[in-house]
Symmetry: C2
Subunit: 185 residues, 2 copies
DNA sequence: CCGTTATGGAACAACAGTGTTCCACTCGGC
DNA sequence: GCCGAGTGGAACACTGTTGTTCCATAACGG
């Protein structure tokens, strides 16, 4: 795909970012709302994303990119697997709204890209197996369960900040504390 | 409220039950879909619940009732608090779709009834505090965090059965195993 | 068995969201 | 400054959902 002009790239980003923030709060928000939140006209949104599904696909790809990048940063292959998962948890926590969105908008993850076998996912599952082998992760907990558990804890942590007003770092601490104990052998 | 005729009570139940099952899968399902799922005409749905919000309110009340009943059955005041929470987890797990619905349809819980201070909720939080005092629950984990954690684990367990095809009892076992370790001091 | 009670279906108006077109505008970069 | 890329807004048709009304008919109960 040809490189977009600076202006267009910036507008596209504004729309996608606004959409993520908005849809995280209300997955049924209208395109008009997205346009307003992005500070652009509804027409412009349609210019970039002809159909709603196109916008959703773009969001999906965007979040996927961020997840992959976060996974890279966690350096899953370094040190004990249990510690690696904690690092990953910290990185994922930073994804914020993107996290919430993925969690309660399954239609997004069932998209073309997420063949349930994204590189990040495979790397994650592999790390859990490594943890099982080296004894740093409870062998009773199946790989998929650990994956779902991590996502659920992250979602809970964000939810916790929203409902109780707990500062983010405290929520993250609780999240990591809980994860550490849960996966310990 | 005057007792409803047997027929009406039965129809009302069919509609509410169908709505819970359907909305758990897709919170945006139309009233027509609900009617079909319940095996009644759309007109009939409107006869019982003039507006969509009326149906939602009825569902909310219904789920709330079931939560209260499940909480009763768990006998939270008996034995160690940690064990009590495990029993509660088992009872809540049986709520099935109602669980999913509450989890990702916050608009329901923000309804009139759920003043964030339902009897079941208060009893739950009180039990956690008891656990803190008697030392059976990790004092680092704030009451609200434990509550959110339990709900998240339950949701995860159900999600796990759906995506991996794991039998329900296995998912519940994983859920309880994880909870036990997470809240242990 | 007969009347009340409950239901299903069709038809309707109203509404919100979507997707499209067109035109006037403004902003950025050469 | 100028030109074209990029934008905003108005207007439109279209769709699906909602909520309403009316009537024929099925089911239930005494």
């Amino acid at each position: 795909m040809a490189a977009e002009s600076g202006t267009r790239a910036r507008t596209r980003r504004a729309i996608v970012d606004a959409a993520v923030a908005l849809l995280a709060g209300d997955p049924t928000a209208s395109l008009g709302d997205v346009a307003t939140a992005a500070g652009v006209g509804r027409t412009t949104v349609h210019r970039y994303f002809p159909e709603r599904s196109d916008l959703l696909a773009a969001i999906s790809a965007d979040v996927l990119d961020k997840v992959e990048a976060a996974t890279e940063r966690a350096r899953l292959d370094d040190g004990p697997a249990a510690k690696a998962l904690e690092r990953l948890c910290q990185e994922y926590f930073e994804l914020g709204d993107g996290l919430t969105l993925m969690f309660d908008t399954p239609q997004l993850t069932n998209w073309s890209d997420w063949d349930e076998e994204t590189p990040a996912d495979l790397h994650f599952l592999h790390t859990v197996r490594r943890g099982h082998a080296e004894g740093s992760i409870d062998a009773e907990l199946h790989e998929e369960w650990v994956r779902n558990l991590v996502w659920a804890l992250l979602y809970t942590a964000w939810e916790h900040t929203r409902t109780t007003g707990t500062p983010k770092h405290s929520a993250l601490t609780l999240c990591l504390h809980t994860l550490r104990k849960a996966i310990a052998p």
